[in-house]
Amino acid sequence: MGRISLRSVGLGLAAPVGALVFALLVCGVILSITGHPPFSVAEDMIGSLERPRTIANSLNSATTYYLSAVAVAIGFKMRLFNIGVDGQYRLAAMLAAALAGASFMESLPSVVRILLTILAAMLVGAVWSGIAGFLKVTRGVSEVISTIMLNAIATALVAFLLNPDRLAVTVAGSNNIGTAPITEGGQVPGIPYSGSSSDVYGLVALAAVVGVAYWFMLNRTRFGFDLKATGESESAAVASGVNVKKMVLASMLLSGAVAGLVGLPQLLGDSHSYALDFPAGLGFTGIAIALLGRNHPIGMAFAAFLWGALDQTSNVLDLSGVPKEIVVIMQGVIVLSVVIAYELVRRYKLRLEQRDVGRALGTTKTPEEVQG
């Protein structure tokens, strides 16, 4: 097996490295065509990475992206496409923010307050995705359609609730509107990052916990086995005794619960209020990162950091007169080429493995000759 695993490491490397190199080449070509020297652009981006602040901010973005990716990946493992992570986290963050900022929470100990906020967010996310799961199980509605619609409904619901008559407060002179600010007891303190003006979110730990839990669930529990089995072959899973409907519902709930966490690092670590400028669209970024990281707990962590770093270094491009949309192009090319590269490598690997099995059998056992 030693030889096989060494080779598989090489093959595994081939996909992401090849895709990254390809993406770099494409971006280089685009930059050259538009009259920007690719190497100086790369220099600028790397240069900005040397600033501690950029690293801290990248880590913070990665934290959010990672949670979003895990939420998406739980669905992907079952071949469920939860496009609704976006709506789930926005609604969850908004309601959790309203809860955390409510005055009755002031009297509670900080830990309890934070835990309640986290639980509330998970619950809201789970309920919102659970609707899609329920519709799929009982009515056969495709989760793709229902979650897209639930995103729109979540947007409308948040807009409705974000009103001074309901859950929002206004500040004189500001054109922003948001939930009541969460006071210090409800905030999660950041971790100072030396040399950086911004702290690393305290909830980076939450992302780590979610990552480990996700890995454990997939690889060590019966539930995780059933989840993967259903994703790989529904018919085989059914024959093995998996209740697919139950699994659909359970995985949608789980995916939604994790989705509910997506907004929390930002909310409890930085914004302290859900306002109009709360970041949107993280759920879609999560899809890209889950694809890039192949739904793997560690793969997604690196993908999330890569994504976050690209986002953060893009600011520097504008300063040097390079349209920072190049970063968006780069992210897009990376995802596309990674997806293609993984599929190619997967097929190639399977063929190699088949040949190996054949060869191993041909050489290890000498067929006793029978004369006819």
Binding site: L13, P16, N57, T170, S174, A280, L319
Partner: protein, 349 residues
């Protein structure tokens, strides 16, 4: 299952790429400001940036005008969709570190980040358009440039009421935010001041965080058509780029439209529908930006909130096209009443 590998490899791969790119990295540090008293201006737009046909563009016009008059080197940056406060803060910080002074932030979303960066760079002058949040962005080196949009909206509301034959008018808001609600409040008050029992149909194209309502003419057209079918004959389009759809609908049905932010009658991009634009609520972000640059250039920077309103022409109604020549006396009368304080225009609905 040997899935683990994928992740580990991605890691190695990424480290490789970073290292690879790291070879070429160098640190030239920031150059420290312009020589020879030249102003080095950093301007951070909200989403859309220069060319959004709306208020970012207006700010850009102010910058361009200042460029013509003063010795200026300017860098313009813009926000991306779905970015966090941290990214906005980083943007402002990079400008400050790069020796830019003054720094202008366009849009209320910069309020929090600007407050933090301004504290760390007390020697740099900052300006923020459209926001004055006490405690967040009111430091000694921050000028807040805000507008009495409700006052200008009131006057175009008056014009709408006077011009309407059906006593039914419409309001199309781009995105349902407190800022646009201010436009609606003033407009409604203006309409009611003339015709107390007039109907004002209100429609917002999108809800935040979906900001496409500022740039979706098709949505604007649909909304306007609905209002026109329900008897409205004047529609106020406080919807940025979506306004063109509103005007197209108005033109088709022989109705009237009111523009926003700039004097839209004169915008080349609206040339084919300009005959339905009877007036526009002009919000002179360009004037505010220009004034601010001028104040810094002339060493007369003033921190704190500057409200641009009818009295200083920061907001006004446009008369291009001559469609409201006949009612100008009434409009001027209301304008004077607002300036004198006789009429107080509400800023919330």
């Amino acid at each position: 299952m040997r899935r683990k590998r994928g992740g580990a490899l991605a890691a190695i791969a990424m480290a490789g790429v970073l290292a690879l790119a790291g070879c070429g990295a160098s640190d030239d540090g920031g150059d420290s400001g312009g020589a020879s008293g030249e102003l080095k201006i950093g301007l951070a737009y909200d989403i859309g940036g220069r060319g959004d046909q709306s208020f970012n563009d207006s700010a850009a016009r102010g910058l361009d005008k200042a460029k013509d008059e003063f010795s200026i080197e300017a860098t313009e940056l813009e926000a991306s969709q779905g970015e966090t406060d941290a990214q906005k803060e980083d943007r402002l910080r990079q400008l400050a570190e790069g020796g830019y002074n003054p720094i202008i932030a366009v849009g209320f979303a910069y309020a929090g980040p600007l407050g933090k960066v301004a504290t760390d760079f007390p020697e740099v002058k900052f300006a923020i358009v459209d926001d004055f949040t006490p405690g967040t962005d009111d430091g000694p080196n921050i000028a807040n440039l805000t507008f009495a949009e409700e006052q200008g909206s009131f006057l175009v509301g008056v014009a709408a009421a006077l011009k309407s034959k059906t006593d039914s008018v419409g309001f199309v808001g781009g995105v349902n935010t407190p800022l646009i609600q201010k436009f609606e409040a003033g407009y409604t008050a203006g309409v009611k001041a003339v015709t107390p029992d007039a109907t004002v149909q209100v429609k917002y194209l999108t809800q935040p965080p979906d900001y496409s309502g500022f740039n979706d003419p098709a949505k604007g057209e649909t909304a306007a058509n609905g209002m026109l079918d329900a008897d409205a004959d004047v529609i106020y389009a406080a919807a940025g780029g979506s306004g063109s759809g509103v005007f197209r609908a108005a033109k088709e049905k022989g109705a009237m439209g009111i523009g926003v932010d700039s004097d839209q009658y004169n915008l080349p991009s609206l040339n084919d529908v300009k005959d339905v634009i009877i007036t526009s609520m002009v919000k002179s972000v360009d004037l505010a930006v220009y004034d601010f640059i001028k104040s810094v250039d002339g060493d007369s920077f003033k921190a704190g909130n500057t409200v641009y309103d009818l009295s200083d022409g920061g907001v006004q109604y446009a008369t291009s096209g001559g469609k409201i020549e006949d009612i100008k006396p009434q409009l001027e009368e209301y304008k004077q009443k607002i300036i004198s304080g006789e009429i107080e225009v509400p800023s919330t609905t």
